[in-house]
């Protein structure tokens, strides 16, 4: 049941990798996240070199997300105009992120920076989502009316210039917040090996005030292009994309995502957000724990070049 990976240069149990791909694909279908924030740490934990894990995860997310984008396109739940703005700024961000990652790696701080940013981002995002979803859930139970589309409410975003109309999202807002969001997500994709949905989905809901039903589709659209470009950059610069590893992950992933989309359709918005908040917080706590407890060996081999 073992197979040798040509780029990672090690053999793995392929059923384990296939199962990992399925679980991540399932979560991806349910929540509209790429699942990279779980897959990258799990692959590293399994023993895949971190560089290969980051680059190959980006490719797996691109593959799994494509079927999700098609599914959402058919349901007309993708805002292509918003997606295009996010992708354009995301490509610039991912190039900046690849440069930043190279600098951090030379300093020997890449691993710590990645873990610390995971803890901060996942912790903050998870806490906000958990709080919001619990309040909505309670309000619904108590019979109070909750409006799904809060585009009528105004926040600081509406004071910014360069307004643009996004018809699919029923929004007329400044183009600055989506551009900044796209750029940040691009950096995260290159540095952390994630699609960045755990940042962009909450930002779309709470800052841009996009309707929840187009958020997931649009986020997937953005992730598809940003992860595809990240894969190309890593393949060209670092030779760290493993086709065989990606193939097994995607096979598991595309099957998982189909079941995930179906399961997700049966759950209400705030239930989805509650579950995702829990997963995000558990990962954040796990990573924080690793930074705090004394390591088994304070010395570690961080690089070997022939």
């Amino acid at each position: 049941m073992e197979i040798y990976l040509p780029i990672a240069q090690m053999s793995v149990q392929w059923p384990v990798i296939l199962g990992l791909g399925f679980v991540i694909g399932f979560l991806s279908g349910v929540f509209g996240v790429g699942g990279g924030f779980l897959l990258t740490p799990l692959l590293i934990f399994y023993g895949i070199p971190p560089g290969v894990a980051v680059a190959t995860t980006a490719n797996q997310i691109a593959g799994v997300t494509f079927s999700g984008v098609l599914t959402h396109w058919k349901r007309r739940s993708v805002d292509f105009k918003m997606g295009a703005v996010l992708v354009a700024s995301g490509l610039v961000g991912s190039a900046a992120g690849v440069w930043l990652f190279a600098v951090l790696r030379r300093m020997g701080q890449a691993e710590f920076t990645v873990s610390a940013s995971y803890v901060l981002l996942l912790g903050a995002v998870g806490a906000i989502m958990l709080n919001e979803s619990v309040r909505t859930w309670r309000a619904r139970r108590d019979g109070l009316s909750t409006s799904g589309n809060r585009s009528g409410q105004h926040n600081w975003v509406h004071g910014l210039p360069l307004k643009m109309r996004f018809r699919q999202s029923r929004l007329y807002i400044s183009v600055i917040p989506p551009v900044v969001l796209g750029f940040i997500v691009g950096i995260l994709s290159a540095v952390m090996g994630v699609g960045g949905a755990f940042v962009s989905v909450p930002a779309m809901i709470y800052i841009l005030r996009m309707p929840t039903n187009v958020v997931v589709g649009t986020s997937m659209f953005q992730i598809l292009f940003v992860t595809a470009s990240t894969t190309m950059l890593h393949a060209a610069d670092n030779y760290t994309v493993d086709t065989l590893l990606a193939l097994i992950l995607i096979l598991g992933g595309v099957i998982g995502v189909q079941y995930g989309v179906r399961a997700g359709a049966k759950l209400r918005g705030e239930q989805l957000r509650f579950l995702m908040a829990l997963i995000v917080l558990v990962v954040a706590l796990g990573l924080f724990w690793q930074l705090v407890i004394a390591p088994a060996d304070v010395y570690s081999l961080t690089g070997a070049t022939p």
Binding site: Q9, A62, F66, V257, A294, D297, Y299
Partner: protein
């Protein structure tokens, strides 16, 4: 019976000829294929023109290609464990050593150090950011031992007769590619009296090799191909699932 006596006489006769070694490998080329889960190399050999009397000891070393290793040390800073100091050193990516007896039983520290025999005697041009290089070198040996890439056993040389020997060298799945060297030493009275070295190659083969070469010779095309493969699989899955539901 007479033939045997004659043979023994013939072997003992050229007393002036020096005692030397011949050795060979079960294979001089190890191919890593998709089902590769580690392997075993057999080193075998014989002592030629054996001299009577005294004890002979044989040491077998397998060295992988030298690699620039970076070792970092974490320190407890503000409650968090952060990489704070580092050392770089050139050391073999794979090292195996065994002998007929524990090394220190037949050779002194100076001799072992001169020939770099034993995990404690690997010489590295270490540059440590905080001055003392020793703990970094020790840490590297620990890490490589855990990965099964540094191996030292006491009595792995099997003597099949007074002069014929054989050694089984475990090759783990994570073995690095490159050019290896198998060294055999003959010890007499604490000194090396004969030595022989044979090259050995580890490389990928078949599909794995083609993928590896594709990724390194035309990386951008390879990246594009990988992305397209991912997207095509994603697309194909939607047809498959639509057909079933």
């Amino acid at each position: 019976m007479r033939a045997l006596v004659l043979a023994l006489l013939l072997l003992a006769a050229p007393a002036s000829a020096e005692e030397t070694l011949t050795s060979g490998l079960s294979q001089d080329y190890l191919q890593i294929t998709s089902t590769f889960t580690g392997s075993e190399l057999t080193v075998f050999g014989a002592v030629e023109n054996p001299r009577a009397g005294g004890t002979r000891d044989i040491v077998v070393v397998v060295r992988g290609p030298d690699t620039l290793m970076t070792i970092r040390r974490k320190d407890h800073i503000a409650g968090l464990w952060i990489n704070n100091a580092r050392a770089k050193m050139w050391l073999p990516s794979y090292y195996f050593i065994t002998a007929t007896r524990p090394l220190r039983a037949f050779a002194d520290a100076d001799t072992l150090g001169r020939y770099e025999l034993g995990l404690g005697n690997l010489r590295a041009d270490t540059v440590a950011s905080d001055g003392d290089a020793k703990p970094y070198a020790d840490a590297l040996v620990r890490t490589q031992k855990r990965a099964g890439l540094y191996i030292q056993t006491d009595a792995g040389v099997e003597m099949q007769s007074a002069t014929l020997f054989r050694v089984h060298v475990p090759i783990p799945a994570a073995v690095p590619r490159g050019s290896y060297n198998v060294e055999v030493y003959l010890f007499r009275a604490g000194e090396v009296t004969a030595a022989q070295s044979t090259p050995f190659y580890v490389d990928q083969a078949g599909f794995e090799r083609r993928v590896f070469e594709f990724a390194h010779t035309s990386p951008l095309t390879y990246g594009l191909f990988t992305v397209l493969m991912a997207v095509a699989l994603g697309w194909a899955s939607t047809f498959f699932f639509r057909a079933r539901t």
